[in-house]
Symmetry: D2
Subunit: 250 residues, 4 copies
C-alpha cells in the first residue's frame, strides 16, 4: 500500500474559491485523491495549509510515502521550518510530487537549489509531448495529449537539468516548457508536473490522471534513511570488514 | 581576464594554524592564488571569513567571475544572508568552486539541495581516477594521480547526480568518493573538488593545480542574469514577434 | 509475469568448463535462473550461443521482456545481424542486462556507441559501493558489499555517462570502476553489472541476486514500439487535432 | 587554431541543386565555412561526399579537430567503413557536429546507439528556445530566436537523453523538438543542431552562426587517445606505483 498525502493551499480569495468549485465540485485535492484511489494499492489523505502545523504534523509525515503538493500563490505562508521538514523527509526517502504552481513551493526550491522562476501568461491551449516514452511515468500514454486550456508556463525555467525529462509542453502562443521533470534527491524521488491550474480541467483528463498515478508508483520510497548525519570511523572499511565489524550504513 | 576570488575560512585553533603554516608557508589560499596566477588570463584576490561582510561585500562579488571557497569546520559562522547572496550570484552567472570540506559549505548546500553528508576518516592514501577524460577540467591530466596523504571522504555522498562526474577517488582503506563533480545551476557553473586538507600537500601537486586552473576556465561565466524574477506578458511570444515587440529575456 | 531470457556464451575451453562447473554445479545461467525464479512474478528461460540462431530466434525474442546476456570472450562469434536484432528489440522496449564481460558484447556496443574498452586484471578483492541508494535497483541493499574474489575491471571505462550510476566498485589493488550503470535507449532500459566472473562466486551472493532481481523489475518494459520508422504528415499536429484526425504515435 | 572540416552531401537532384544555389550562392558548406572563419582561431576546409574516400581520407581526418557533417538523404551512400572511421575518430577525441538531417547520418547513429528516427513535415515557422543559458554553446544568445521557415522535426526523437539539452524548437504547427543536444562520447564531444534545411535561410541567421561557432569551440578536443584497446597488467595499480612503474594510460 502506498500512503499518499495531497497537500493543498486552500486560502484563495472567495471569488477564486467559487471558480475552483465550479471546475472541481468535489474539491481540487479531493478530485486528485479520488482518481488515485481507484488504484487499490494507493491510499490518499488530503490536508490543507490552514490546518495545524500547516497540515503536516510529524504524525502525518510519518504516514506519508508520497506527498503531492498543490499551491499557487501563498508560497510565503508556509513557514521555513515546515518547508525544511518536508525537504528533509524527501532526502530521507519520501516521494514528492509538486504540482503546477508548486514549481515555486518552498520545499521544491530547497531541494532543487535554483530560483525556479519562469515565464507565464494566462490560459492558452497546451499540447503535452512525451520525449521519454521509456520512462515508467509515461506508461500507457500517447505521444501527445491536448489540454484545451491551461496556464502558460514557458522557458527559461530555472531548474537544474532534470535527471529525466519526460514531458515537454507546447503552447499555441509560441512557448514551450519542461513540464514533466524527475530528480533524485537523497533517498527520495521528485516529479514536477506543470498542468493543473485551479480553474482549468487538467485533473479531469484521464491521461493526466494516468501520469499522476504512474508518478506515485515511481516516487514511492525504495530506501529510507533516519538521519542526515556524517559518518566517521577511525578504521578503514577494509579493516573493519577484516575484523568482522559492521560498516556504518547511511 | 578571469577575476577569481579565493574565500578562506581562517578561524582555526592556533595549533592547526601552525600545522597549516608548516605545510603552506605562503598561506593556504595564497598558495592557490599563486599557481592560478601563473595563467596571465587569471587575476586572483584572497578574502577571509573574519573580514567585514564575511569577506564578501557586494563590491567584491561584483568583481568576481569565479569564486573558490575553502572551508573546513566553521560552516555555521557564515551568516545565512551571505550564503544566500553567494548562491544567488551563482544563479546569476558566477562560477563557484567549493574545495574539500566545503562540500558542506552553506552556499553549496543551498545550490545542491541535498544534505551533502558523507563518510570520513583521517589521513589515507588517495588515488584519483579520471572517469571522464573528454571533460575540459581533465585536460592534460593522466588517468590517475596519487595523493600520498589526504583526508578520506567516502560514499554515500548525498549529492544530486552530478551533471558531469569527472573524477572519482580511491582510498587505500577501502572507500571511494565522487571527488570531482560538475553541476549547472541557473546561469552559473559549479565544480566541487575533494582533495585539499589543510595539513596535506594537495595544493602543491601540479596535477591538482592543473585541475583547478582548468576548473576556473570551465566555470568562468558565459551568461549573466541580473534578476531572479518571473516574467509575465499578456500576449504570446508569437504575437509579440508579429507586432515587432521584444520578447522578455531572463 | 516478467518473461526473462538468460543468454549464455557456452563455448569455453574444456578446462574452463570444468572450473565453471565446480563453482556453479547447476550451470552458470541456470544458477541465475534459479534465484530469479524465486520471485513468482518472474519466469526464466536459458538459451545458449551454440543453439540455432545463436539461441535467439524471433519466437524467443517475441516472448522475452528482459534479456540477460552473459558472455566473456566469444564476442565475435555473435553474428552482426543477431546483435542488430537484439539492439533493435531494446529500442522497441525489451529490457537488457549485460553481465560482467558482456560490457563488450556486440549488442551493448551497438546501444552505447562507445568502444566499451577498460582496464583489467585477474582476480582481486572487490568492494561494491552504492552511490545512488534511491534507485530501485539498490532497494534492500547495504551501502557496500564484499566480493572476496572478482576479476578486476577498472577505469577508464569507455561508456557514455550513465543516466544513473548506481554502483561503483573498489578493488584492493588500486582501481575503481563504474560497476552498475543504467541507460535508457529508445523504448528500452539497459543495466550493466560488472561482477560475475565464471569461476568466482558472485552469483551465489544474496546481494548480487537481489540486485539482479531488482534490475529485472526495473528493466521490464513499460512501453513498446513496433517499428523504427520516420513519421511524416502534410499537416501540423495542431491542424490534425482540429480536424479530429489521429496524431501518428511511435 | 581549431581545424574544422565541413563535410557536405552534394549529390542532389539538379532541381534541388538550383534551389540550394538560390539560397546559398556561395554554396551551403562554403557559407558555413565563411562565417566560422571570421574567427581567426578557426580554419575551415570543405569536403564533399563525391570526393575520393567519401571526402574523408586519413590525411584529412588527421588534420581535423572538429567535423561538421551536413547530409540530407544519401545516408546509405556513405560506406560503413567510412562511418566507422569517423565514429572512432570521435571516440579518440575529434569534435563532431552533425547538422539538420544528419540526425540520421551513419556516424551519429553509431555514436548514439538509437534509431534517431523522428516526426517530420515540410517548412514551418520555428522558434528556438534556449533551455540552458549557462551552456557555452548558448553564449551571446537571446532566450529565443525566430526561423521564419524551417523543415519541421518533431518528437518523439529517438536519441539517448542528451548530456546537455541546450535548445528546444517550437513549431507553429504544434510540434516541438530537442534541437540542440550535447553528448560526450569517448574522448570526443558531439553537438547535434536541427535547423539548416538546404533551401531555407538558417545559415544566414547571425544567431545560428553564433551557435555553430560556439559549438566549434566547445567541441574542440581537450584530450586525445590513439587506440581503442583494452589495458591489462598483472599487477595492481597500487603495486605498480610502489615499484615506480608507470600506470598504463588510455
Amino acid at each position: 500500500m502506498i500512503r499518499v498525502t495531497v497537500w493543498y493551499e486552500n486560502m484563495f480569495h472567495p471569488q477564486t474559491q467559487a471558480a475552483v468549485k465550479a471546475m472541481y465540485p468535489l474539491g481540487l485535492p479531493q478530485t486528485i485523491a479520488a482518481f488515485l484511489e481507484r488504484d487499490p494499492q494507493v491510499a490518499v489523505r488530503v490536508v490543507t495549509m490552514d490546518q495545524p502545523a500547516c497540515g503536516l504534523p510529524d504524525e502525518v509525515l510519518d504516514e506519508t510515502d508520497v506527498l503531492l503538493w498543490w499551491s499557487h500563490s501563498g508560497y510565503d505562508l508556509v513557514p521555513d521550518e515546515v518547508a525544511r521538514k518536508v525537504a528533509d523527509r524527501v532526502l530521507k526517502g519520501m516521494g514528492f510530487i509538486p504540482l503546477h504552481s508548486a514549481h515555486y513551493a518552498k520545499p521544491l526550491r530547497l531541494l532543487l537549489g535554483t530560483s525556479c522562476t519562469l515565464r507565464w501568461r494566462e490560459a492558452d491551449y497546451e499540447r503535452l509531448w512525451c520525449v521519454m516514452p521509456s520512462h515508467p511515468i509515461a506508461a500507457g500514454l500517447p505521444v501527445c495529449i491536448e489540454l484545451p486550456e491551461e496556464e502558460m508556463y514557458g522557458e527559461f525555467f530555472d531548474i537544474p537539468q532534470p535527471d529525466e525529462l519526460v514531458f515537454t509542453g507546447w503552447f499555441r502562443g509560441g512557448e514551450l516548457f519542461r513540464s514533466g521533470c524527475c530528480w533524485y534527491r537523497g533517498m527520495g524521488k521528485v516529479f514536477y508536473f506543470q498542468p493543473g491550474h485551479e480553474t482549468h480541467a487538467a485533473y479531469h483528463n484521464p491521461y493526466v490522471q494516468q501520469i499522476l498515478l504512474n508518478a506515485v508508483h515511481w516516487a514511492a520510497p525504495t530506501a529510507r534513511r533516519e538521519q542526515l548525519f556524517f559518518l566517521h570511523d577511525d578504521l578503514g572499511t577494509d579493516e573493519l570488514a577484516r575484523q568482522g565489524r559492521p560498516v556504518p550504513q547511511y
